[in-house]
Every structure is written in C-alpha cells, then in structure tokens.
Amino acid sequence: MSQAEVTMGAHSGLMEEPAFRVPAKKMAMWLFIIADSATFAGCLVAYGFIRNATPDWPRPFHGITNVALMTLILLTSSLTMLFGVRHAQMGDKAKAFRWTLITAVCGIIFAVLHIREWMRMIGEGATLFHNPWGTPLFSSLFFSITGLHLLHVTGGVIALIAVALRYQGGRYGADDLEITGLYWHFVDLVWMFVVPLVYLLNLAH
C-alpha cells in the first residue's frame, strides 16, 4: 500500500480521477514526450529554415546503406519493446525481461552504427564548425540534430536496462516497463523525421 493510500484512508473514494484516466507516472511521461517533441520540432524547423536560406547547400551522402540499416534496427527495436510490454502485461516475467534486453541491445547497435557514421564524416574533414563540402552550417546542424537524437538513444538504453533489472528484481511492475516503452517509441518516432530531412534530402545525385 502506498503512502498516499495510507494517508487518504477511507476518503480515497472522494479523490478526483486522474487526468484522462491515465496514471500519474504515465501522464508525466506523455507530458515529457510532448515537451521533447517541441524541442526536436524546433531543431528540425531551424534546420529547414537555414537549409532553405543557404544557397549551394551541400549534399555529401553517397549511400544509404548505413542509414537504412539504422532505421531497420530502430524500427525493429520498437517491435521488440512491444513484445516485452505485452509479456509483462501477461505476467510472463522472463520473456518480458528478455525482450526488453533485446531492445536495449538494438539500441546499442544503433548507437554504434551512428558513431561509425560520425567517424566516417569526421575522417572526411567534417567538424562541428567546418566541413569540406561548403557552408559550415551543414555540419553544425547535422552533428547537433543527430547528436541530440543519439543522446536520447543512449539515455533510453540506460533506462531500459535499469528498468528491466528492477522489473526482474520485483521492484518495478509492468506499468513501469510500459512507460519506458513509451519513451523508446518516441525516440523511434523522432528518427522517422530525422532520416528524410537530415540524410535523404542531402543525398548526392
């Protein structure tokens, strides 16, 4: 029994229902997602603004293999996360734990591929304030937007492992796994906009 339930006692029936009948923790995650989507939207709109206003915008990407592989892995990780949550809701702790760890591994593979992409670009002479293809704004925006996303993926992987371990240990429930899953799906959702705007629109023809 939670502290709130002990304090409220017999008056708990008089308490107001949670907003939209969503538990407080889940609502907090939704509010975070809404706020974070505004952050990413701000970054992408700023990118679009600068790209539109800069003549001779560079198109340095020659292949799509790496980015296609990253997309495949991130989309698949969303599916494995769903499997984890479904098993948790059915009370199958072992499978829920396993699928959540598979999701975290997908996140790690994604991060490794992402860093490999960065290293390739850095090897070609791109830094945060300079690149060999034209306006330095390109690499500033590229590293900022993809870096912000990579930061979210890294945070998500840490959260997934931490929550999965606590779930396995009995300290967290299926709801906690579901809330972490919401965050992971959001990271996937953001990638759906980053890929076309930052990578595919800058593909060399």
Binding site: S78, L79, L189, V195
Partner: protein, 103 residues
Amino acid sequence: MTTAETQKNGGVGKDLIVYGCLMALAGIQFVIAYQEISASQMFVRMLIVACVEAALALLFFMHLWENRGLKWFVLIFTVAVILGMQYGWTDSFRILDGAPWAK
C-alpha cells in the same frame, strides 16, 4: 491492460501489421530520395510519409488509439506548437531571394 484486453486489442498480430506498414513507409522514403524531382517536392513527399509513420507509431505502438481524451490532448497541443514554429518560413525565403524588401 489485462490479458483479455490485450487479446481484444489485436495483440501481436496487430503489432506485426503496423511494423510491416512502418517498414514499407520507410522504404517509400528511400525510393523518394532517388527520384529526379526538386528538393521542395521531395521535402513535401517525405514529410507526408513521415507524418503517416508518426501517426501509426503514436496510435498503435504508443496506444494512443485506446485513450480518446489523451489522443486529442496530445494531437491539439503538438499540432499547435509545430504550426507556431512555421512563423519564420517566409523570412527564410526573404534571406534567400532578398524579397520583398530588395525589390
């Protein structure tokens, strides 16, 4: 969500269908990238596909479909914020073309 509710809402089969649709839409974006069209046409087409992908992920992967009140709250708030950010676009065209002040 209980086991019965999970079954009622389509379960794993629905997840796999949505995953398949997302993969197909991602593939369409890559096809658009190789089309011989202008950057603005490419931008519009890719953005439409990305919005459809995002809607599928929100409604089915994030289960927004199952909560009507929250669905409208998220939709109205997010769309209002994103529309507000479109305020500066005309200025980016001005920087590029020097119009209308330069003319």
